[in-house]
Every structure is written in C-alpha cells, then in structure tokens.
C-alpha cells in the first residue's frame, strides 16, 4: 500500500502541477521536501544517539528486563506472540509510558529499540510481524495526557484557558487508540500467519508447529550489530 500511495502522490502532483501551471513549484517542492527529510533526520541524530546510549546502560543493568517482567501482564494481551520476558516487552512499555507523559523525544528511540528487539524474533526481516503492527498502531494513535506543544502555542496567542483542550484531546485520543487496537485485532485475525518465536522456542506454542524459518537467526540489518 505504501508503494501505491507514494507513487500516486507523485504522479497526481505532476498532473495537477501541469494542469495548474505550477510545474516550477512542484519541481522546487521535490527538492525542498528532500531537504526537509534530511533536516528532520539530522535533528533526530542527537536524540537517538543520547537515548540509545542511555538505554544501553539500562539494558546492561537488567532494568529493561525487570520492567518487562513487572508490567508484562498488562501488555501481554496486546502482544500475545512476544515472549513475556523478552526485552522487547520492556522497550514497548517504556515507549508507551513516554508517549503517555508527552515525552515525544524519548518515545521515538524507545519505540525504535522495541522494533529492533521485535526484529530479532522476526522470521522474515523485511516483512512486519503482527507485534510490530500493533506497536505501530499504538504509536500512530499515541495516547497523550498533555499535548504540550499545542498548549504552548495557545498560550502564545493569548488563550483564556490554554489547557482547556486537554479534556477533548484525551477523549479523542482514547477513541482513536481504541479504534487502532480494534482494527489491529481484526487484521491480525484476518491474516493469521505463523506466530513469531524466539530461537530458543521456550514458549508454549498455540499452533503446536514450529515455523521452520524461526530457527534461523534473523538480525536487524541496522543497529542489531
């Protein structure tokens, strides 16, 4: 689907650009957009480098695994195919708590770490697993308690109650997160595939069969080592 959207947006843009006589603007926008992409990534470098360094310390100290053990019952329902004591669980939890507290800068690296851990138990490293899709759904819907940026902007423009949007925001984010979880469940059920497994195969396995590829060791191409 991403392939179609991407190609569609570009082709439609050129057609509209031709029809509106905005070809020059479209060409400009292509390179401007490319530049924005790089700028955003450069902005991410400092955050990712710092948090991933800090998280490596937490991992080496056994903190991530501890957090996973402690909170697993809550999240296990959402990620039935990830072993309860897998480090991915710890990162998923840190990612969700950071989102909740509105710490966007901290949430992204934790989410990426969670994805990298999930990738280690992915039998096919170029195809997303159901667990990855669930984690993504939670992050695109992103439950937020305090939308800090928006409150700051409203304050800037002299709002009488800059924080009055906290209540509707919470309502809306609960509804959209609920919708994301339901849709995710529905697709999970619809495309039942062999569940992902740890190479150790210590988990009780619902389908009973061991997926042949799960015993190879797929590692993340990036960041995994």
């Amino acid at each position: 689907m991403v392939n179609w959207i991407w190609m569609g947006m570009i082709v439609v843009s050129v057609i509209f650009g031709a029809a509106n006589g905005k070809m020059e603007k479209v060409a400009e926008a292509a390179f401007g957009g490319a530049q924005t992409g790089v700028t955003v990534c450069l902005g991410l470098i400092s955050i990712l480098v710092f948090w991933m360094g800090l998280m490596r310390i937490a991992e080496d100290a056994g903190l991530v695994r501890k957090l996973a053990n402690f909170m697993a019952p809550v999240v296990r329902k959402l990620f039935p195919d990830v072993p309860a004591d897998h480090p991915a669980m710890g990162y998923i939890l840190s990612n969700m708590s950071a989102n909740l507290l509105g710490l966007g800068n901290a949430a992204t690296p934790m989410g990426i770490k969670a994805m990298q851990e999930l990738q280690k138990i992915n039998p096919n490293p170029t195809v997303a697993t159901p667990a990855m899709c669930t984690l993504l759904a939670l992050n695109t819907a992103s439950i937020t308690l305090v939308p800090t940026t928006i409150i700051a902007i409203r304050m800037n423009f002299g709002s009488v109650h800059p924080a009055e949007i906290v209540a509707p925001t919470l309502l809306a984010t609960l509804v959209s997160t609920g919708a994301a979880i339901l849709a995710d469940r529905w697709y999970r059920r619809k495309n039942k595939t062999p569940p992902t497994m740890t190479p150790k195969t210590t988990l009780p396995h619902r389908e009973g069969a061991v997926h042949p590829v799960s015993l190879s060791k797929p590692t993340a191409p990036i960041g995994g080592g």
């Binding site: 991403v2 959207i5 947006m9 570009i10 843009s13 050129v14 057609i15 650009g17 479209v26 926008a29 292509a30 957009g33 490319a34 992409g37 990534c41 470098i45 360094g53 800090l54 490596r56 310390i57 937490a58 100290a61 903190l63 507290l101 901290a106 989410g111 990426i112 994805m115 990298q116 990738q119 490293p125 170029t126 997303a128 990855m132 899709c133 993504l136 695109t140 819907a141 992103s142 937020t144 305090v146 800090t148 940026t149 928006i150 902007i153 423009f157 709002s159 009488v160 800059p162 509707p168 309502l171 809306a172 984010t173 509804v175 959209s176 994301a180 849709a183 995710d184 697709y187 960041g223």
Partner: protein, 179 residues
C-alpha cells in the same frame, strides 16, 4: 491536576537520566562504555532513516505544492459542512497523518487567524494533540529496522486517524457546546 502532570513530565527525564547510570553502577556495569556502545547504534539508526524520510517528504511536498491537496479539500468541503464540521478544519484531516510539522504550522495559523478560543481552533488543537503523524511514525519505525512490507499497518493507522478526526469534533461539541 494539569500542573501535577506538568511537573511529572518535566521531572521524569532528568530523574531518569540520573537514575539509570546510578542503578547500573551499583550493579557494576561500566556505564560510560555501555553508553558509548549504545549511542553508536543511535547514530546508525538515524542515518538509516534518511532515505525513507527523503522519499516521503519529497512526495508530500510535491503533493501540496501542485495544488492537488487543495483540490481534494475543495471537493470534500460541502459534504463536511453539511454535517456541521467547520470547513476550515478540513485540510488538517489530510495533513495530520502525513506531516507533523505541516499540520502544526496549519494549526498555528488557524489559532492566529481565528483566535485560540474559537471553536475551529479548539477542534484543530484537539486533532493536532490527540494523534501522531501516521506516515512519519511508520517511515521512521519500520525504516529503522529495514521492514519493506508493512502489511496492514498503514491501513490501521489511517483508520485510527479517520476515527480520531470525528472523535475530536464530537469531543469539542460535547465539552464546549454546539457553536
């Protein structure tokens, strides 16, 4: 309540930054070396996202510059207004899932033009705050681990954005009254 949450969100990070190395030191982890090891991964990850973001940002800014987005919005406006949804908020429904910076710019502009306490600005603020940029999140998270086939993830994200848009309008109706 709100000030408590704000205190929590300003304190969490510094406390976390101090607590993690302290705890690790007590467990005899060589903290600085661990940090450097992990930090190297962070750099690799950021670099590996560049092609994904460049691809997406290019398509998105072309789409906006060509007038294609305006055309779609023009078509949908009468339909939305017949349901009592202010037409001015419509571009946001399209912008929000594809560009966080773009939609934030749009909301800021709307707040500036219509006043922060107008109904439209409240709806726009709610939409902006209640969801994340689906396409960006997908690009960054899956790009970082080299996923090429994202399966149904995009559909789920867009569906939740769609529901979230109407939920935001409904929540504002509910809490601020019909205007």
């Amino acid at each position: 309540m709100i000030s408590l949450i704000q205190i929590i969100s300003t304190w969490t990070i510094p406390v976390l930054i101090a607590f993690i190395p302290l705890y690790a030191s007590l467990r005899k982890v060589p903290v600085y070396e661990s940090f450097i090891d992990g930090a190297k991964d962070g750099f690799q990850t950021a670099i590996s996202i560049i092609p994904h973001l460049v691809g997406m940002m290019t398509a998105i800014s072309m789409f906006r510059a060509s007038g294609a987005m305006d055309a779609i919005i023009g078509l949908a406006r009468p339909l939305f207004e017949s349901f009592g949804i202010p037409g001015d908020v419509l571009p946001l429904a399209l912008l929000r899932p594809i560009t966080g910076a773009g939609s934030l710019a749009f909301v800021t502009d709307l707040i500036k033009e219509q006043g922060p306490d107008s109904f439209v600005a409240r709806i726009a603020s709610t939409i902006q705050g209640s969801t994340d940029t689906t396409l960006y999140v997908l690009t960054v998270y899956f790009g970082a681990i080299g996923i090429r086939n994202s399966r149904y993830a995009l559909k789920v994200g867009l569906f939740s954005d769609f529901i979230g848009f109407f939920a935001a309008v409904a929540a504002c109706w509910l809490l601020f009254g019909l205007v």
